[in-house]
């Protein structure tokens, strides 16, 4: 089987996110990046499918040079091929989907995996957009998958239960937690990953449909404090305003 897995580079979920000086992007200084966790299920499912049926697994990402790190991780997990579609700045979903779809047209995969969403921008549009561009079915939020006779049978998480659906191949599977337990890269494979090639190509320039106007971090709501109601509490109030709040 020809298996394509689309992955995305996101800040580690433990990272504290700050807004950058332009007010429209995040401050990337000191951020540790990882493969978006839902995409890891996609890599694992692709690898398992290959181990069962033979074939190749290709990992592709649209991103900057820094995204080679997550492709190396994918190679250490033993995908066969890694492709970086280079775009220097952050792009909207339409741009990324268009590029992924164009690449998919080239290699003609039997199945495409991607996370149900990337955990940074959470726009949740990638599976639907790519499937639209390719004219193939998209099955979203899949937590169990069986491939047989040219068909994908998938269990989907729906509110309060499960839905079982069938789609013909090729199709897009968007992966949900529970689909599998992604493997840890083995030490020898980590060491070998550096010598495996990463194919780099320039992104196809296309319109962006959505523009970010601004970003903000929710202000911490602080509970008010009542110090008391007597004259004796005033000194304490003054002290706190002076020492803690530092406004007088």
């Amino acid at each position: 089987m020809n298996i394509l897995v689309c992955i995305s580079r996101v800040p580690d979920t433990a990272t504290r996110i700050l807004v950058g000086p332009d007010g429209k992007t995040i401050d990337t200084q000191g951020i540790k990046y990882v493969i978006s966790p839902y995409d890891e299920y996609g890599i694992e499912e692709g690898l398992r499918l290959k181990e069962k049926n033979g074939g190749t697994v290709t990992a592709v990402t649209v991103g900057s040079e820094g995204s080679t790190d997550i492709l190396r991780t994918a190679l250490a997990m033993c995908v066969d091929k890694a492709v970086l579609i280079k775009a220097d700045t952050h792009k909207d979903s339409y741009f990324v989907a268009k590029n992924l779809a164009e690449y998919a047209k080239e290699i003609n995969p039997d199945i495409i995996f991607m996370g149900r969403q990337s955990v940074d921008y959470d726009s949740l549009q990638m599976p639907s957009m790519v499937s639209e561009f390719l004219g193939i079915p998209s099955v979203s939020v899949v937590s169990k998958l069986t491939i047989a006779d040219g068909k994908a049978t998938a269990e989907r998480d729906v509110e309060g239960g499960k839905e079982i659906v069938e789609a013909s191949l090729p199709c897009i599977i968007s992966c949900q937690k529970g689909l599998n337990e992604p493997r840890y890269p083995k030490l020898p494979d980590i060491m070998k990953a550096k010598s495996k090639p990463i194919e780099t190509r320039e992104a196809i320039q296309t319109d962006e449909k959505v523009t970010v106007l601004g970003m903000s971090i929710p202000l911490k709501q602080r509970a008010g404090r009542i110090l008391g109601d007597g004259d004796g509490d005033i000194d304490e109030l003054v002290r706190l305003l002076h020492e803690e709040a530092k406004i007088i």
Binding site: T73, A76, Y184, P185, K186, L187, P188, I190, M191, K194
Partner: protein
Amino acid sequence: MDINRNFTGEQILLRDTIRKFAEEVIKPKARELDEKEEFSVEITKQMAEIGLLACFLPDKYNGCGLDYVSYIMVVEELARVDGSHAATIAAHNSLGAGPLYYYGNEEQKKKYLPKFADGYLWGFGLTEPEAGSDAGNTQTTAVQDGDYWVLNGAKIFITNASTDITLGSTVLACTGTKPGGKKELSCFIVENGTPGFTTKAMKNKLMWRASNTSELYFEDCRVHKDNMLGKRGDGFHQMLGTLDNGRLSIAAMGLGNAQGAFETALNYAKTRKQFGKPISTYQATAFKLADIDMGLEMARNYLYEVCRMLDRNENITKEGAIAKLYCSELAHMASNHCVQIHGGYGLMKEYDAERFYRDQKLLEIGEGTSEIQRLVISRMIGCFDV
């Protein structure tokens, strides 16, 4: 300094992988295994699957071919989460696989080394009830009888020697007397299950309770002469060489323990409030954390520099001793502060602080006590050459 400073991309990916593995696989079970004093075959097999039982062995023995820097990173990351599992890996690689790989002949290597990747352990039988720091005073004897050597004696505190997945141990024994009157020591490969060889897990330990520590007994245990490691009389030299390298893994355990204790203490101090403020904002707490951080920066830079020396095949007798001594004393300081910052809760098993505190203590004793390290250093700087 940037934690990724001077590391290659592969080393960073390796560290991140081990950190994730330790957090996800070991951490959820560490406290319970420690409390039950239980060695986990299941976790050890999982560690084997990603290659941790064959860290620096080359590919031809199913190993990962890690350089020493990478291997030490593995140990540090495991110790950051749990001393017991770091001990299993450090002892197996440095003391188990190490001597077989460095001193064994090709036949011996082919027989044992490839099995480690499948999840089998090997022990290093050095310490005896009467021979701790004074390892030259080994009482276990091996007497030649035709094609066999007959072993008698006992070993104590041997890591990994009596699990269900242990294949055997390298055993130091006295094979005669040298011309000067000193004991002639040689190493033997002894498989578990050899008649006359019994092992017994030691219980009621203070620390590393989820790792396996054993007593070994030899009663007329007959070992074929082909099982001698290297040449007759090389045992003492082999042992010293093994310990020189092994010290770096103990140092890594100290660094990892200190890092884990530091993070635990810092997180707690920022959330625990007394007198209306997080206790991390009081200098009494803040300065403790600053001291640990300073130690971590120094220790990390020094230890990995010594690893690079070893990767270049330079002699590290003194540097290894310094790294081991400094990192283990740093762990002592860090885990002590960690408990202190936790106050009463630090004394309770529901918190990790007390486990860091207990686990660090071995590091000042095992693979050469702190006193022996100071002896090594003072010898190397010529204190006694007068």
